[in-house]
């Protein structure tokens, strides 16, 4: 128990020294103020501290604002951090049990997370004393804040946190965590879409983040303010069963991580025999008479001559090329290397099949109504789903690519090379685009196979080429350029993730609420039909998209940290 408390406390202490929890608290407090003072309650005459409105706000807070993503990121890496910082040998050489360590880590991180989340509920609670003109308020409420916060937020994020804590601890790969975080919303939306045919109670039972606890008919936009202000939100038996199930899942995840967690190094280190293999050669090159295994200090003060036992190997002279052609070769070389490094990302093993599956799931297992042709329907459907995932994937992998050189500490070497900044920036943009194009091609091929398998022939390849080529491909280039620009500007991977996800979420919200115009929708989400793709106007729109991408790359070049002049 004492070791658990020590690990718990240190985890809390470490988090108090980080910027992220405070940033989250500020964000959540601002969000509470926004929804309290400028939410729908004021305009509709709803009491801002009614049980209904408190539940509504807490329930929305539980799902939107990237809260699950924050949970994943905060809960995924407490153990990874110890291994990354190299503090693991110091910890595991002490008499500490696996259970104490893991539980201390998990509950320490979760306590910090809940403290951050609680700022939303606490701010809402305190706002009851702040006068707002034209706002309806009931007498001061206390219990509804606690009830809904614990029932909805704490339990939901406990299970999400436990699952990602397990993944992070077992794989010890932060990239997998971030990759899954980037895919959370598209994956959750896709699963909800796929399960929409199930009975409502089953949806309630298995929904980990309580999004389906209350259906539309149970009160909301269509009810009078008087009714809603008096309404007491109660949870049905399926909701209680769901929460019990989530607590059980949490215990199962923690048990799995307890069983699978190993304190040993996971990567295959260079083994002794490799060193032994090189030793005889090494001995040949040592010019001094090192009789003793522990040389005296003076030995090193003797002058060293080049090895007498081994001839100096001359280096052949080479031709250094300069100019545009050389820059092009450097870009190609850098793209080749960046793409090779991207291919070796372990998170891709999880993400790529997931993205392919979710992109084609609707077409593979549900009825397909042909619009102009089956091929147009298949290509349109896959492009629509794929674009959602590509937003997340490109944000994540471009961030990884942009910051990899610094993280693996190869940056001083790369930056001291005579390669212009354009080589370093374009290679990262092109490598991520190339990955997205490869994914697009695979999704297209799978869609064609499914189309043939389901007998929806003939296959019109032109439809795929046109839809993917005109809609998806330029969007990929734009997104990669945007994320490169943001990364160069912000110089912080995590800040870029948050800003890019926030921009995407806000834009998606605007597009879905009717504020949709090509000038701020370069992905053309909901702005095209198949015949539009052959018009001159579409050419103009796509040129505009490329111009934006070029502008963002120029911005990246201007603000890039490495100086060339």
């Amino acid at each position: 128990m004492r070791t658990f408390a020590a690990v718990f406390w240190v985890e809390v202490l470490v988090n108090t020294k980080r910027v992220a929890p405070y940033a989250l608290m500020i964000l959540f407090a601002a969000n509470a103020i926004l929804w309290w003072g400028w939410g729908p309650a004021v305009g509709r005459g709803w009491a801002t501290n009614s049980d209904f409105y408190i539940y509504r706000n807490i329930s929305a807070f539980n799902f939107v604002l990237g809260l699950p993503v924050f949970t994943i990121i905060m809960m995924g890496d407490p153990v990874i951090r110890d291994f990354r910082l190299g503090v693991d040998p110091l910890i595991f050489s002490k008499p500490i049990g696996r259970a104490s360590y893991l539980l201390g880590k998990f509950f320490g991180a979760f306590f910090v997370l809940v403290c951050c989340q609680a700022v939303f509920a606490i701010t809402s609670f305190l706002l009851q004393w702040v006068p707002f003109s034209g706002m309806v308020k009931l007498p001061v409420q206390f219990l509804p804040f606690i009830k809904h916060f614990f029932f909805v937020v704490v339990v939901s994020h406990l299970v999400v946190g436990a699952s990602f804590f397990a993944i992070g601890t077992i794989t010890r790969n932060a990239k997998i965590i971030y990759g899954l975080a980037a895919c959370f919303y598209p994956a959750y939306a896709s699963v909800q879409l796929l399960l929409k045919g199930l009975p409502e109670n089953l949806l309630k039972l298995f929904d980990p983040i309580a999004f389906n606890f209350h259906s539309k008919g149970e009160g909301g936009w269509d009810q009078t303010a008087e009714f809603l202000n008096k309404q007491v939100v109660s949870y049905g038996p399926y909701a209680y069963a769901n929460r019990a199930l989530m607590l059980l899942y949490t215990a199962i995840f923690l048990f799995i991580v307890y069983r699978r967690f190993s304190t040993h190094e996971q990567t295959k280190l260079s083994t002794d025999h490799l060193t032994i293999l090189t030793l005889p050669r090494a001995a040949e090159t040592v010019p001094l008479g090192l009789e003793s295994a522990a040389p005296s200090y003076e030995v090193f003060d003797s002058p060293i001559e080049a090895s007498p036992a081994r001839n100096r190997i001359p280096l052949p002279s080479v031709t250094i090329t300069r100019g545009l052609r050389s820059t092009l070769s450097k870009i190609i070389a850098a793209v080749e290397t960046e793409f090779r490094l991207l291919r070796s990302e372990r998170s891709l093993i999880v993400l790529i099949p997931l993205v392919i599956l979710l992109s084609i799931f609707d077409l593979a297992f549900f009825q397909v109504e042909p619009e102009i042709s089956y091929s147009v329907t298949y290509a349109t459907g896959t492009s629509k789903y794929l674009l959602f995932f590509l937003v997340g994937l490109i944000i994540f992998f471009t961030g990884e690519t942009m910051h990899r050189d610094r993280e693996v500490r190869v940056r001083p070497i790369v930056w001291s090379m005579p390669a212009p900044n354009s080589v370093l920036l374009l290679s990262k943009c092109f490598a991520t685009s190339l990955l997205a194009f490869a994914l697009l091609a695979v999704v297209g091929l799978v869609a064609i196979v499914i189309q043939v398998f389901r007998g929806h022939t003939p296959v019109d390849f032109t439809a795929y080429v046109v839809i993917y080529g005109v809609v998806v491909a330029p969007s990929i280039v734009f997104m990669a350029s945007m994320v490169v620009g943001l990364n160069a500007l912000l110089r912080n991977k995590y800040a870029t993730y948050v800003i890019a996800v926030a921009i995407s979420a806000v834009l998606l919200y605007l597009y879905n609420t009717g504020h949709n115009h090509w000038s701020y929708n370069p992905l053309l989400y909901r702005l095209w039909t198949y015949p539009d793709l052959f018009t001159a106007n579409m050419l103009k729109l796509r040129l505009y998209c490329f111009a934006l991408a070029a502008g963002l790359l120029v911005l990246a070049h201007l603000v890039f940290e490495r100086k060339s002049k």
Partner: protein, 294 residues
Amino acid sequence: MLVIKDLTKTYSSGVRALRGVSLELPPGVFGLLGPNGSGKTTLMKIVATLLEPDSGSIEMNGADLLRRKDQTRQMLGYLPQDFGLYPTLTARQMLDYFAKLKGISNKSERNALIDALLERVNLSQEPTQPLGEFSGGMRQRLGIAQALIGEPKLIIVDEPTAGLDPQERVRFHNLISETAGENTVVILSTHIVSDVSNLCSRMAIIQKGTILSSCTPREAVEQLKDSVWEATVPRENLPVFKSRFKVISSRMFDGQARLRVISKGQHPSEEFTQATPILEDYYLDFVNRQDLQN
């Protein structure tokens, strides 16, 4: 000849890393010696175009290295103090990438160069081993190999032997001594005195961002001729000796303390015998004196 003039650098935190550093570095291996935090790495980063100085200039054979960064990078081979490599690539893939970035477009030339480099640094036997599985010494050897790509005229090696075992250190010394050519300036930044005494034709001592001394190792040692004395004394008597004499170093050996003291032209006491001065005596004496003055 590399000429550094009045280089200053203050970080945004307020730390004054360089306070008017001026040096002249002829071709050959030049050792920059100084304790941790003395400004060596800051100076190396500035010369390697990775950091902007607040003021001062760096010229090599008349060319301004600070203003023409791309040209500087063309003639530069840089081995940073703390560097990593892409763990999933092999040594050949990594060197091939760097060679392409250096502008070596011809594939056969590039392959021949990489073969020779791998042979020289004794890594040709690990063609498929990912860099993530390399030992510290192997990584360091690959680091020097990449610094030799493209016939560099200026090679900067920053703390190259820190953390290496004795055998790897000797091997590394060999590589550096093989590298130094007639027209190449090699700057070896280190806090390990034996690295400098083994390799360098000239040296400078830097402390708190200021150059304290610049000379050849021989000149440095000459200054202490007939002044270094050595004695083995009981451990418990160490404080007494430290208070009586100017102790430059003390090491424990077989349960006793082996002291080296400086005493110019005078036998300190009967326990002491005269010792041959080494570069470490000069360095420690210099740094200790500066510490006392400050």
